[in-house]
């Protein structure tokens, strides 16, 4: 049960941060969410057997090795993504803000309002 609660806690924290403004918080939210999902995948292997899966001894209580392999890959790839996002956080104009001001938003809406109409057409009934 505590594993499930941990997953939920991390997921909630991660999602909350993901919805906030600013690249750093989005990165942190992503990191926490990754933790939550990794824990979930490991827990899919079952939490009753908790021995490390090494051959050459008693493997009757060894944990399921397959989820562990998945998670290992996932951790490294998540790191790669985190690094890329961190790079993106520092190449904008002022700071790591991810949201445009509302006036600028309104202006761009205006600009794309006219794209649907066609030029003049001949007279016909």
């Amino acid at each position: 049960m505590s594993l499930a609660l941990s997953v939920g806690l991390l997921a909630a924290g991660g999602t909350f941060l993901l919805f906030q403004r600013g690249m750093i918080r989005i990165i942190l939210g992503f990191v926490l969410l990754t933790h939550a999902v990794n824990l979930l995948i490991i827990s899919a292997g079952g939490t009753a057997r908790r021995d490390a899966p090494f051959i050459g001894g008693d493997t009757s209580m060894a944990a399921d090795p397959l989820p562990q392999a998945f998670v290992l890959t996932a951790i490294v790839i998540a790191f790669a993504i985190t690094v890329v996002m961190a790079t993106l956080a520092v190449v904008s104009r002022d700071d790591d803000d991810t949201e445009v001001e509302t006036e600028a938003e309104a202006k761009t809406e205006e600009d794309k309002g006219d794209s649907g109409s066609l030029p003049e057409r001949g007279e016909s009934a």
Binding site: F16, I55, T73
Partner: protein, 967 residues
């Protein structure tokens, strides 16, 4: 060859037409229902084949398409301007493609093939119209919209028929019992087919695209809008007549629409001043008459429809071509401006006269015969006599108006149009040429030929009996012998024709007052406005729908998945049944400790407003998760998690100094809303984890790995064997991801200006700990001196033992990279920190080594299959070597390289400016740069990170070699 390619095309099409023409007698010698078939398998799994069928109907339409096509091609050879060579290739290509599409359409015996060719004609017509200039794009789009809608209707009908009759072959589908048994189905199909045909043949309410499409050059109009494309709709109606002709819905729909269109088209023709537009409306009107005739449905009516189609193709093509000739010779098409041309263009005048008289239905032209029989068939419809009489009255009115607008054409074009007194704007474009000469014979012959044919075929109508009879039989589904006669005695039809002449002549004499009557505008809007409104409305709707996700914020995009998750939760909570028991109820007490620690780190991390605090807390949470992994028996994973978390924090700290201290403020309502969403996600995650995991024993595949790993791979660390032996390809993919991420980071940082460091506002800089960097970093450097060799050794040790105990490529590389991180922390200034290793090369070599180890695997069977042999060790015993270790080496190199790249790029000397907080322009930066060089010549001049920088080496740590190249 330029425009003379038209002659070539004409010869080609003409010979094909001749071939068809001469085969027809042979075809029909077996009786009027004979058919020639060819099939080739096309999509065997779907049972669709390229079935082709030549029967009477196909033969008639083929002759029309190919024959008129030949004439139009010959006409284009003279119509097209000589000077512009380039666009002609496109024109001829599209026209011939169109001819091909029409041929395919009338020959196809498979419903799917029919649909494909139908759409191909739509497409060709769009392109032909569209390429005629800028103001042609709007009409082309409108045409496409209307005809494509008809195509959709046809698709529905085809699919329904295929599903219902279980065959795609047209001849079989039409002969099925379904038509007789299921009235609802038949009615539905009738409507769908009728709509498809009506859009193609420009019937009300889909008529507006035809006059609109007159922006296309005249040969295009002559072919498409007179003889070929609009006839596709007629062909479709005739094709489906065997099945649908008895259906009341079909009959009523076709007859009403047809007659309505006939009247409407004729009236509109009376209002126009552009010859081409008059022709367009005339086409609409004439097609309406044909459609109404098909609606009658009897075999004789269908044969008459076929005859009328032929006649119409002849005179309409001729008339369109004449309009083109007048346009070329006289410079304008406006009947108010054209005067007295009958003297100057005699041959053209004769042609127009012949074609026009055929259109008006004057004895002894072909048009007369077809009109007479048309009136007769319409008169005889319906059980009650008055139905036929009412309908024929409408037809008579339409025909009288036809007579009137024919006169309008003749008078308007060639003599003096004395219609209404509306002023004409006399501008340069619209005045008649001063010298109007007759066209060359090569030009007008192609127009004269069909007109002459219309005259000849009238008395010689019996030549056409086999053809029309076959067409009628095919359309009716039963044998029909045509017996059209030029003069059938004093019948009701003759009286009707005479009355048409009378009304027509009356209209001519009264034309001035009639024109004022016609020219008044009755409705406030035009049909084109409706199409435009529909089009713009659809675009607006699409924009609105797209607006829901047209945002850059993650919140906007994540809202939809969140809603779906919430709905799924509720649904599953309600519907889920028995889950099974938990595998073990006992939890070690350490689990609760980890949970508590997580709560302590995650919750403050979420609420804090300081960036540094948040990063530290999230890092701590990552360590707790590593503890979780160890506790669950995932040794390798825990190690990896630990090291990765460490490096993540390092990476984030490296960028932290360029960002403000606190986070951006977020509004209260938004916090509440996102908090609510986050809590719900957490609840869902908890419930899902609790419900779906831990309720069974170890998975079969996991047990398999535990049992077989040593036998298959020789390794004892099962997780590692899965990564580098069993699922090496996945790891290879991951390797590629790492390499790409590294390149992306380098690429972004090289091409964009990085934010500058934010130096704190401290007055006495030199005496603080930050100012005295050498002293400050002394402890770290001391530790690093001793630790570095140990770290390297540890890294290698972990690498080599990975296959047998906890370790492996990833962990070893991460440990090694931590050593580099230590070097960074111990550097005294930014310029001394960078690591002089070619990390780009390392990234690449990592991938290459992995590929090579995989290729080695081909020696024993397949890519990445491990090759094993034993190496005797110097101190006795053996080391079980496997090529998976080489693969692991590739992993090692790549992971090491990306971390070095990150440390260097994000933390290195590559800075845009030294000023706190503001982004300096290029001038300011250059000035800073120069000042810098004078003050500290030993300091490495930084490249400024702008996009036009040199990129010769990736080692900014090398002193003196990375001078800016192009300042």
């Amino acid at each position: 060859m330029g425009r003379n390619a038209g002659w070539l095309a004409a010869i080609g099409l003409g010979s094909l037409a001749a071939v068809v023409g001469f085969r027809v007698p042979g075809l029909l010698s077996d009786g009027n229902l004979s058919v020639i078939k060819e099939t080739t398998p096309w999509m065997p799994t779907l049972d669709i084949s390229l079935g082709l069928r030549l029967d009477g109907l196909s033969a008639l339409f083929l002759i029309i398409v190919l024959g008129i096509g030949a004439l139009v091609m010959a006409y284009s050879a003279r119509y097209m301007s000589e000077r512009i060579v380039h666009p002609h290739t496109g024109y001829f290509a599209w026209m011939l493609l169109f001819a091909f599409a029409m041929t395919g359409l009338v020959l196809s015996d498979d419903l799917i093939l029919l649909f494909v060719f139908w759409e191909l004609t739509t497409l060709c017509s769009f392109f032909l119209i569209n390429r005629s200039g800028e103001k042609a794009s709007a009409p082309a789009v409108r045409t496409l919209l209307v005809t494509a809608m008809g195509g959709l209707s046809l698709l529905f009908a085809v699919v329904l028929i295929v599903v219902r009759t279980e065959t795609t072959v047209i001849s079989e589908a039409l002969a099925s019992n379904v038509w007789a048994e299921d009235a609802g189905f038949t009615a539905g199909i009738s409507v769908l087919i009728a709509i498809a045909a009506m859009t193609k043949s420009a019937q009300f309410p889909f008529h507006m695209w035809l006059p609109d499409a007159m922006v296309a050059p005249t040969p295009v109009s002559a072919y498409l809008h007179a003889a070929a494309m609009v006839k596709a709709g007629i062909y479709l109606l005739l094709l489906f007549s065997p099945a649908l002709a008895e259906t009341p819905v079909w009959q009523v729909l076709l007859m009403s629409t047809g007659l309505l269109t006939a009247v409407m088209g004729a009236i509109f023709a009376m209002r126009r001043f552009d010859l081409k537009e008059i022709m367009a409306y005339s086409t609409v009107s004439q097609l309406g008459l044909i459609v109404a005739l098909i609606g009658v449905g009897t075999a004789s009516a269908l044969a008459t429809a076929a005859l009328y189609t032929l006649g119409h193709a002849l005179f309409k093509a001729s008339l369109f071509m004449v309009v083109g000739i007048i346009d070329r010779q006289a410079g304008t098409r406006d009947i108010r401006i054209l005067q007295g041309l009958w003297r100057k263009l005699p041959a053209t005048f004769i042609t127009t006269l012949l074609a026009g008289l055929s259109m008006a239905g004057v004895f002894p032209f072909l048009g007369f015969i077809s009109k007479e029989y048309l009136l007769g068939k319409i008169l005889s419809t319906g059980e009650a006599g008055w139905v036929g009489a009412a309908l024929v009255a409408v037809a008579v009115f339409a025909s009288a108006t036809t007579f009137a607008y024919t006169a309008r054409i003749l008078f308007g074009a060639f003599s003096n149009y004395r219609g209404s007194n509306r002023e004409v704007e006399q501008d340069q474009d619209h005045s008649m040429n001063e010298t109007v000469r007759e066209a060359k014979p090569s030009f007008y012959l192609s127009a004269l030929t069909p007109a002459l044919l219309g005259l000849i075929l009238g008395p010689a109508i019996s030549i056409l009996h086999p053809l029309t009879g076959a067409a009628g039989s095919a359309a009716a589904g039963s044998i029909y012998d045509a017996s059209f006669k030029l003069f059938g005695g004093f019948t009701v039809e003759l009286v009707l024709s005479l009355s048409i002449y009378a009304f027509g002549i009356l209209a001519i004499t009264q034309r001035r007052s009639l024109d004022t009557f016609f020219e008044r505008r009755y409705l406030g809007f035009q049909a084109i406005d409706v199409v435009e409104a529909i089009r713009l409305g659809a675009i607006k709707l699409g924009t609105k729908v797209g607006d829901t996700t047209r945002t850059d914020r993650p919140l906007g995009h994540l809202a939809a998945p969140w809603v779906i998750i919430a709905v799924l939760t509720v649904v599953s909570l309600v519907t889920i049944g028995n889950l099974g028991d938990l595998a073990s109820a006992e939890e070690p007490w350490t689990d609760l400790v980890w949970l508590g620690l997580l709560a302590v780190t995650v919750i403050p991390a979420v609420f804090t407003k300081f960036r540094l605090v948040a990063i530290i807390l999230v890092g701590a949470a990552g360590f707790i998760v590593a503890l979780w992994f160890f506790s669950l028996g995932a040794a390798d994973v825990g190690l990896t998690q630990l090291l990765v978390e460490l490096l993540t924090v390092v990476a984030l700290v490296l960028i932290l100094r360029r960002l403000p201290k606190v986070f951006h403020a977020v509004s209260r309502p938004r916090q509440l809303m996102t908090g609510l969403m986050a809590v719900s996600v957490g609840v869902v995650a908890t419930l899902a984890t609790f419900a779906f995991t831990g309720r069974r024993d170890i998975s079969p595949v996991g047990q398999h790995f535990l049992d077989e790993a040593y036998k298959d791979t020789g390794g004892t660390n099962v997780v590692n064997t899965i990564l580098v032996d069993y699922r090496a390809l996945d790891t290879f993919g991951e390797l590629t991801v790492i390499a790409v991420a590294g390149i992306v980071v380098i690429g972004i940082l090289r091409s964009r200006k990085v934010l500058g460091e934010i130096t704190p506002d401290i007055s006495n800089w030199a005496n603080t700990a930050l100012g005295r960097t050498v002293d400050n970093t002394l402890p770290v450097r001391m530790v690093a001196k001793w630790a570095a060799p140990l770290i390297v050794l540890l890294s290698f040790h972990l690498f080599f033992r990975g296959h047998y105990e906890a370790g492996g490529g990833f962990i070893a590389a991460l440990v090694g990279a931590t050593g580099f991180g230590l070097a960074y922390l111990g550097a005294t200034s930014d310029s001394k920190a960078p690591i002089a290793w070619p990390y780009r090369g390392l990234l690449a070599s990592g991938v290459i080594v992995a590929v090579l180890s995989g290729v080695w695997g081909f020696a024993v069977g397949s890519f990445l299959k491990p090759v094993r042999f034993d190496i005797p060790l110097p101190w006795g015993g053996e080391y079980g070597f496997t090529s998976a270790m080489v693969f692991d080496l590739g992993v090692y190199l790549a992971v090491l390289a990306i971390i070095i790249a990150v440390l260097n790029e994000l933390g290195g000397v590559r800075e845009a400016q030294k000023e706190p907080r503001s982004v300096a322009g290029p001038v300011l930066v250059a000035r800073e740069f120069l000042e810098d060089r004078e003050a500290q010549p030993s300091k490495v001049p930084a490249s400024l990170g702008s996009s036009e920088d040199q990129d010769s080496d990736d080692e900014p740590g090398m002193n003196g070699t990375s001078e800016g190249g192009n300042k």
